[in-house]
């Protein structure tokens, strides 16, 4: 351990720590663009200037290691002046794009300027014009005028995705980010470059112009895209979820894959005027309606099952019931439904519906795993805990008089879903829990009832990832009020009253998050 003094605060850091990391550990603000904790040091933005006692010249904090007894400050006049001029240089050719720039509101330039700049520009010359709206690849758009050439994106493709698509071309103030000819930015982690770009030079095609970020609030959660279980932040407002971004953790570092960015699309009800795959309340209520809104109590909406349906789902009355599970529910849900199944149906006829199990061991070396279920491990553990056996082959369902299907939330990874639907509809009575709209739902026979299930953002619980790490997640918000989680399904089958939360009680306010996101 090395002792040092940061802005007058004495702290001890590990040997080899850079000064900028020591600043972060001491909780001190320091301007920086090119340094990123998940990437190598470049030292190109020259913004992280600090004054080290005994050293006549300013040093960059990101490329200086802490030495014993070092006294560092970034609050001296000399440093402030250097940062101010550094910012001025960065902004010389920067366009006035903030109104149409997706980054506005979470932009490094805006933040640093308000923190460390606030000068009057002294540049009178015209700005250098560069390429705008460049289609870099499947998911990313580049605006080179906004780029401050921090090289984070280049280092990302070099060091993390190892695909080397991006580079800096030309020299001086004509330098631009670009891709080599015929090599679009199409790696499986490309949107991470958008996240780490400190300005609005790289923007995500999927999120572009859909929302201003200050209308959004974020809450942490866990990605359900595969068994890795990347930690994410879910950005949402009353209209739905708009994007997910990686959240730093040991599991995923600072990154997540591009496919995982799409999981939010399963959450949004169809009514929302953008991508949304979910059945909304009206759609769910139409054909095989089993739940009815009963009354409002202290901000909670209560559902009671209609008497007729309850009597027909008395589990004990079926001679041969079956349960089909997928690895897409939380540990707590499995415990509750499997415990119930064990006590009421003797724990027999449990089938584990698997999607391409032959690929489950695949791993691309960074994050993506072949098992596209977030909680296969948790399901197996819960089965073991209750002493139950699950068969992995779905047999012909004709002999069963009742089948409860715990359908997948991310159905697009289940390529055999319509075969299974046909197979299952051979049983006498079927209840199918589905978080998303199922294409085939309208063609299914009358004895198949679809019950809306909660998505991962609408419930709290935990997933066990591929290495057995249990990661808990909290509810983000409710988007479909009628949706049930498995604990509620258990309550419902047990004849108890089911209470569900109302969707966004704050929904009368449009700009509800503005005051949390920053000063206006």
């Amino acid at each position: 351990m090395v002792k040092c003094t940061i802005n007058g605060i004495d702290i001890e850091v590990e040997a080899g720590t850079s000064v900028i990391e020591a600043f972060k550990q001491a909780g001190q603000d320091i301007a920086h663009y090119c340094w990123h904790p998940g990437l190598s040091v470049a030292g190109v933005c020259r913004l992280c200037m600090v004054e080290i006692e005994g050293n006549p010249r300013l040093q960059i904090a990101c490329n200086t290691q802490v030495a014993e007894g070092m006294k560092v400050t970034n609050q001296s006049e000399m440093v402030k002046d250097a940062v101010k001029w550094g910012l001025d240089f960065h902004l010389i050719n920067h366009p006035l794009d903030c109104p149409i720039c997706d980054q506005a509101g979470e932009c490094g330039l805006q933040d640093q300027y308000m923190h460390f700049g606030k000068y009057d520009p002294e540049m009178a010359l015209s700005k250098v014009k560069k390429h705008k709206v460049v289609d870099l690849g499947e998911r990313v758009v580049l605006d080179s005028e906004r780029c401050i050439l921090c090289s984070r994106c280049v280092r990302f493709t070099e060091e993390v995705s190892k695909s080397n698509e991006l580079g800096i071309f030309n020299r001086g103030d004509r330098s631009e980010i670009g891709t080599f000819d015929g090599m679009p930015l199409n790696n499986k982690y490309s949107v991470n470059t958008v996240d780490i770009c400190p300005v609005g030079a790289l923007t995500s095609k999927d999120f572009r112009f859909r929302q201003r970020v200050w209308f959004l609030k974020d809450k942490p959660s866990v990605c359900t895209g595969c068994s890795t279980g990347c930690n994410i932040d879910v950005y949402f407002n009353k209209d739905g979820v708009w994007r997910v971004k990686p959240h730093h953790s040991d599991v995923n570092g600072y990154w997540m894959c591009d496919e995982g960015r799409d999981i939010y699309k399963a959450v949004n009800p169809i009514t929302t005027d953008f991508v949304g795959e979910r059945e909304n309340k009206k759609a769910v209520k139409k054909p095989n309606r089993i739940l009815s809104a009963h009354s409002y109590h202290d901000g909670k909406m209560e559902f009671i099952s209609t008497a007729e349906t309850v009597s027909s789902i008395e589990l004990g009355s079926f001679s041969n019931p079956a349960l089909i599970v997928t690895g897409q529910y939380s540990n707590e849900e499995y415990d509750s439904i499997l415990g119930f199944w064990k006590s009421k149906a003797g724990g027999k006829n449990i089938f584990h519906w698997q999607n391409q199990p032959e690929q489950w061991q695949d791993f691309d070396g960074l994050l993506i795993r072949g098992d596209k279920n977030p909680n296969t491990k948790g399901l197996l553990a819960s089965l073991e805990k209750h002493g139950l056996q699950a068969q992995s082959q779905l047999p012909s369902m004709e002999g069963f008089d009742f089948v409860l299907v715990l359908g997948p939330e991310n159905q697009w990874v289940y390529d055999n879903i319509s075969q299974v639907a046909d197979q299952v509809s051979q049983a006498k009575k079927v209840i199918w829990l589905s978080a998303c709209h199922l294409e085939k739902a309208s063609q299914m026979p009358k004895h198949v009832t679809f019950v809306p299930a909660k998505t991962f953002v609408e419930k709290s619980g935990s997933f066990t990832n591929f290495e057995g790490k249990v990661q808990s997640f909290a509810m983000v918000d409710v988007f479909v009020e009628e949706a049930l989680d498995l604990q509620q399904v258990t309550q419902w089958f047990a004849g108890e009253r089911v209470t569900a939360s109302l969707a966004h009680p704050w929904q009368s306010v449009h700009n509800e998050f503005i005051h949390e996101r920053g000063e206006l």
């Binding site: 109104p99 149409i100 015209s126 709206v133 112009f209 201003r212 209308f215």
Partner: protein
């Protein structure tokens, strides 16, 4: 609990007929004055006659247009952010023209919620929304008070439906290197 004796006023002061008569006399005199000296009559024969407010009056919004007649608005949503009445809803989209990049496919103001504060006008970075002088805008039902782009920018009394041009011109700004 206590009983309070209320002192009722005397009969004379509650006798209101004299005051009513005085009022009627005043009305009658005013009527005669107006009949014989129409010019000094203090009221207007609305709606045939209308009062002209100053051009700086903050009335119904106008969305300005560019030289080519397209909307000036870039869908930055700063007006919607600033609006205290929360009555502006904008849906942004990507324009085919890369020089425009972002534009509103839908821009609606719920004029019945608007408090005519003018914050939207002040927030707009590109002079795309202004408060116009109009204020007499009746409607038959609630629908008529949700103003869309057609109403806000291209209503008939704005340049015969061609819209009010903005003073800011992108091309000029671009050439000047701003």
């Amino acid at each position: 609990m206590s009983v309070v004796q209320v002192k009722r006023p005397q009969l004379r002061s509650s006798w209101y007929l004299p005051a009513i008569l005085a009022g009627m006399v005043f009305t009658f005199i005013t009527m005669l004055k107006n009949l014989f000296n129409k010019k000094r009559m203090p009221t207007l024969n609305y709606p045939e006659e209308q009062y002209q407010y100053s051009p700086r009056f903050k009335g119904n919004h106008v969305l300005t247009v560019k030289k080519d007649g397209d909307l000036r608005c870039t869908a930055c949503m700063l007006c919607a952010t600033a609006c205290p009445a929360d009555c502006i809803s904008i849906l942004a989209s990507e324009d085919e023209d890369p020089k425009v990049e972002k534009f509103p496919i839908s821009y609606e103001i719920d004029i019945l919620r608007c408090v005519f504060c003018g914050f939207c006008e002040e927030a707009c970075p590109v002079d795309a929304i202004r408060m116009g002088p109009e204020w007499q805008t009746p409607g038959a039902n609630g629908d008529n008070f949700i103003y869309d782009i057609k109403q806000l920018a291209y209503r008939n009394n704005l340049n015969q439906g061609h819209g009010v041009p903005s003073v800011v011109e992108d091309e000029e700004r671009h050439e000047a290197g701003i």
